[in-house]
């Protein structure tokens, strides 16, 4: 269902100003409104704690090493699972794009499974893999696999036939064909697929950690919720949002650099 990549047009020209501080406008204004709402006394502290309190909690958790442990565990799972899912997605996407036989054999099953939101796979995977590390890494891998396989398929299919014909004329061997034609021609679309898969994998990981984990950002929030520690929950919201944002930004930057030669 989540088949469409989400183009995110910036809703405001306000954030695209020339001032170097412009990117800070969004978080700062949110913090200001948040702090003002707390100071107005409209919300009791059981409902909304001020950002200063959340910052203090984050500071204390960072001091005790707890925050680093949660973030480290989450990022490790993300990296490990994403690497597996990405490799499998690239290989599978390229295979069904290049071979008509592979496409006919595997695309119906692939497209059927694609209809299921990855989150709905969580209960099945818990029964098979338990609730420990293998489960979390596997769910991240599955979340990453589908968008990457689809993007790779589209990218490889999109390479003009004529280019392959030129390669045939020059009797290019397969390794050269991959290195000099296939990879340069498909890199932009595949990178977009990788970026979308990365942010999606992050969301699914947080969901999986909310359900079952002994560490990680999601588990930190879930524990905070059960113990009514609003500051911890809000700290988790801030951290998960920040990590998601930074992952997307980092991936966009890589995408921009890798495709610079195209526009030049």
């Amino acid at each position: 269902m989540a088949s469409r990549p989400l183009p995110l047009p910036a809703p405001a020209a306000a954030t695209a100003g020339r001032s170097p501080f412009a990117p800070l406008a969004a978080p700062l204004s949110l913090l200001a409104v948040w702090q003002l709402a707390c100071m107005s006394g409209l919300f009791p502290p059981q409902v909304l704690v001020p950002p200063s309190e959340v910052a203090r909690t984050l500071w204390l958790m960072a001091g005790s090493g707890e925050l680093e442990r949660h973030i480290g565990d989450s990022l490790y799972r993300l990296a490990f699972g994403f690497a597996i899912g990405a490799l499998a997605g690239l290989a599978f996407g390229a295979a069904i794009a290049l071979s008509r036989l592979a496409e006919a054999a595997f695309s119906p099953l692939f497209l059927t499974l694609w209809q299921v939101p990855v989150i709905a796979f969580i209960p099945t995977m818990v029964l098979f893999l338990g609730i420990n590390e293998p489960f979390k890494i596997a769910i991240v891998a599955v979340a990453a696999f589908f968008p990457i396989a689809l993007a790779t398929f589209d990218a490889v299919r999109g390479v003009p036939r004529a280019w392959f014909e030129v390669a045939r004329v020059y009797r290019t061997r397969l390794p050269d064909l991959v290195r000099r034609i296939l990879i340069p021609a498909t890199v932009p679309a595949v990178l977009t697929g990788l970026r979308i898969a990365l942010t999606r994998a992050w969301i699914v990981l947080v969901a999986a950690e909310l359900l079952a984990a002994d560490s990680g950002i999601g588990q930190m929030m879930e524990m905070g919720r059960q113990l009514f520690q609003l500051d911890v929950v809000l700290a988790g919201v801030v951290v998960s949002g920040l990590i998601g944002f930074l992952l997307d930004r980092g991936a966009r930057e890589i995408e921009r650099r890798a495709t610079k030669w195209r526009t030049a």
Binding site: A2, L6, F106, P117, G224
Partner: protein, 259 residues
């Protein structure tokens, strides 16, 4: 080989091989009594679970509950999103004020809000609906804003010439010109509402619904029930996609075929 593959029947048969092998391997593992057989349910029991769930009607109750939640949340969330997107596109001042706020808020993934919403509103059906609304809101808002804010100036100039009133301008220029992007936003909003519904049901487990059934079945180790429910999720997701595609074609019929 290629001639064979271009025909419909062999293609179809070929496509069935992988699922058939999967099922055969599944059945073999489930009945061979190895270590993994504890988790695996033989195909017979999956079919039995399907008959049971259909027979006592629980599955229909779940489908209705999930679809109701998804579409209610979509209607509220996407409605507010389109309204907000329109407002921020028409009044730059409003945009200046609230766009940074919304921009910061939308960095948090929909599921990241779950614990906070659970803390504020409890883990009931209301909280599930809020998650769905939240998921539908942002894509609808962003795309509506982009659609209306980027209407070509020459269209607006024509409106000037005809001395359109504000209402006319909105109804006859802005809205039709922005319609493709608004529809894209609504499409994404529905997809997010659908995922948000299943996620919130799975994580909060309140009321009825397919996600709640999945959650209960996981606790009871009923893989057969899980598989039936996942299959129904897939079918519903596919049906929703088809409806979206059809609506899009209908509404945008006047457009050149490229969009």
């Amino acid at each position: 080989m290629n001639a064979l593959l271009s025909r419909r029947a062999p293609r179809l048969a070929l496509g069935l091989i992988a699922p058939a092998l999967l099922l055969a391997g599944w059945q073999w593992l489930a009945t061979s009594g190895g270590a993994s057989a504890v988790a695996l349910a033989p195909l017979g029991s999956v079919a039995a679970a399907f008959v049971e769930l259909v027979g006592n009607g629980t599955i229909f109750g779940d489908i209705v509950a999930t679809l109701t939640r998804a579409f209610t949340g979509f209607a509220i969330g996407a409605g507010l999103g389109v309204a907000t997107g329109t407002a921020t596109a028409v009044w730059p001042l409003l945009n200046r004020v609230i766009a940074p706020l919304l921009n910061a808020l939308r960095q948090v993934p929909m599921i990241g809000w779950l614990p906070l919403i659970g803390l504020w509103f409890g883990t009931g059906e209301g909280s599930e609906l809020i998650v769905v609304c939240l998921g539908a809101f942002f894509p609808a808002m962003l795309n509506t804003h982009a659609g209306i804010a980027n209407v070509e100036q020459r269209y607006l100039d024509v409106g000037e010439v005809f001395r359109f009133t504000t209402g006319q301008r909105f109804r006859r220029i802005l809205l039709p010109a922005a319609m493709p992007l608004i529809l894209t936003g609504l499409t994404q909003a529905l997809a997010f509402a659908w995922i948000g519904t299943l996620a919130s049901e799975l994580l909060m487990g309140a009321g009825g619904g397919l996600g709640v059934t999945l959650q209960t079945a996981q606790v009871q180790q009923r893989l057969d029930v899980i598989l039936v429910t996942v299959a129904i999720t897939a079918i519903l997701g596919f049906a929703i996609n088809q409806i979206i595609a059809r609506v899009r074609r209908e509404v945008l019929r006047w457009q050149p075929a490229s969009i």
